[in-house]
Symmetry: C2
Subunit: 409 residues, 2 copies
Amino acid sequence: MCGTDAPDAAGPVSNGSHASKANPASSPYQNVNDFISNVARFKIIESTLREGEQFANAFFDTETKIKIAKALPVSSPQSYEDCKTICGLGLKAKILTHVRCNMEDAKKAVECGVDGVDLVIGTSSFLQKYSHGKSIAIIKETALEVIQYVKSQGVEVRFSSEDSFRSDLVDLLTLYKAVDQAGVNRVGVADTVGGATPRMVYDLIRTLRGVVSCDIETHFHDDTGCAVANAHSALEAGATHIDTSVLGIGERNGITPLGALMARMVVTAPDYVINKYNLKALKEVEELVASAVQINIPFNNPITGFCAFTHKAGIHAKAILANPSTYEIIDPAIFGLTRYISINSRITGWNAIRARCEQLGLKMTDDEVKEVTAKIKQMADIRPLAIDDTDSILHSYHIELQKKQAQQV
Amino acid sequence: MCGTDAPDAAGPVSNGSHASKANPASSPYQNVNDFISNVARFKIIESTLREGEQFANAFFDTETKIKIAKALPVSSPQSYEDCKTICGLGLKAKILTHVRCNMEDAKKAVECGVDGVDLVIGTSSFLQKYSHGKSIAIIKETALEVIQYVKSQGVEVRFSSEDSFRSDLVDLLTLYKAVDQAGVNRVGVADTVGGATPRMVYDLIRTLRGVVSCDIETHFHDDTGCAVANAHSALEAGATHIDTSVLGIGERNGITPLGALMARMVVTAPDYVINKYNLKALKEVEELVASAVQINIPFNNPITGFCAFTHKAGIHAKAILANPSTYEIIDPAIFGLTRYISINSRITGWNAIRARCEQLGLKMTDDEVKEVTAKIKQMADIRPLAIDDTDSILHSYHIELQKKQAQQV
């Protein structure tokens, strides 16, 4: 949806880890200046309101859409200034639309007065056969005609293939080269079925980078658990844009999650990510979206999952206390969270609940923590309660508390 | 825990996708015979009962451990025969233990009568400084002494470094080469903090493959969402073993999840995976472990997540109906599941609940489905209910039904 298309200060590529200040330069992965890599100058195309609406349980009303758009962490001081400048021009935002690659759809899109049109067509043999039934020659001819029309109307144009990794490589490159020469602003590569691996992604994007001169956008589904790693590989190979959605919601089990990508990139390129994104906003937008589509934040979610910064005491405890970087690649504080060293008690214990409240930044007195712990135990008597349910109970209890306090004032 | 250390028929490497029968040979990713790759002859070291116990909320009693061990999907006819043969020898299983690399711990381990000792030592500057305080020279000297002792007792020995990706490359290779020459059965590489990327993994394992002749085990944490992709890259580079746990439970947000790795590998090497593993057992062991450590199966879990095989009707519907492979890289049937095409209704609707029951293989009459739907709605009145809570409600209702029926018979 709202990509941060503001021009970036494309600084030198840094492959240092988040903990790089303390890290020895002797690591073979430091100080690699790979000039094709965009890991420290990527852009995010936040698609919660597009791909996310394809999630089985997503039915966003206008109010929810506005809430989500406002809560997205693309709001560093610089992004805010960029937004204000654009808003000052009388525009609300850059409005793009996603249409099938044919003249009829393109004309409708242009008539709506959009700023950009994103043309999409399936290029795999599956989609050629079972979806639109067109040959590559016809696809290319139509694409060039539609692109010429859209450009003639003074509108931005992007061209994406669908199911790119099950498409014939020569077909793909032929198409992309033709649309690049015809002047598209960006080409898109999509792993529509979620079957690509990081090396497949690196190879295709690296090859494509040598064929087109425009920006390259990438879109990865997570069916085989590789959507975050594939995005990272794409950037290393020269892709410029990554599609994400909050918690990854999308068709089937979704796409590259915004939060997990932030976790990945803040380790790869800490300065770029910390300066560009308001990482402390992540937890809130995830909770907003989770509640809108009625899901729990997964227990194993990077950054915001129940246990992401929980260390179980034992062999690790001494080292963690001496220096958290020994067993932690990301400092929770940059996401506005805290670490928690668990002391061999089930998480439903009173002390554990208090620690979780502190981790979430929910201020409560000891009596209040005891009361909400009792509530959690009561709930657990009705049905088996998962630890990741606890967060939502804590949050609703905290909201109630705040309401009561507001009434008393 | 119980690795399938049975000898494999190491067939030719196939990079075909699951849908390869229908796939055109023109895909650039087909028919690549990379002779160093182990993607079609890997072994899994199932660590739910080791790494999994480091998960914040894991406190397994003996009964639970036995249940989990029995439910693991490493139970193809061949694995079963292997197990029977081993059991016939009067052994329960091969018993390995994980100890710090020093003579005292190694002696204790050997005195316990274990079959193998896995020596572990931190090699990163962080761990050298904040954990054990030893230099690489001392680590090497101690390791060789301990290895010689363990071997002299007729016990198998494995040597792993900890935090390998933040260790000095030359230090690492020197150590691994020395322990390989000293005759260890396997070396281990561990991304203890979860910061590695697929290309870092490929490079290190590819280099190591040229330095040691023994097996290579790998262990990936998921802090930056790359644990599945890193495991795949390691196999491509010549690693032989991958550590997993059910749902990935482990320290912090855990390690490579067994189920997600199965999803990944069944696409990369379908014949190998389908013949070796009983994939239909996955759902049950995940539910068992989730319940034991009080977590929900994440909504976006590959294979078993609520929406993994749910397609939202729309642009995709026609093609999915004509040929599911158009928008599905994995056939749900091989995991004993079914696909579901959602027809624009919130998942809590009665028809959606019926579809989910069918997907989970829970047999209920329409009246029973209506009753459980009412229960779900009732529960939702008490507190906001997530769709991924629904599975556990459906399962407990179904168990109740079965109990009632058993009483009536």
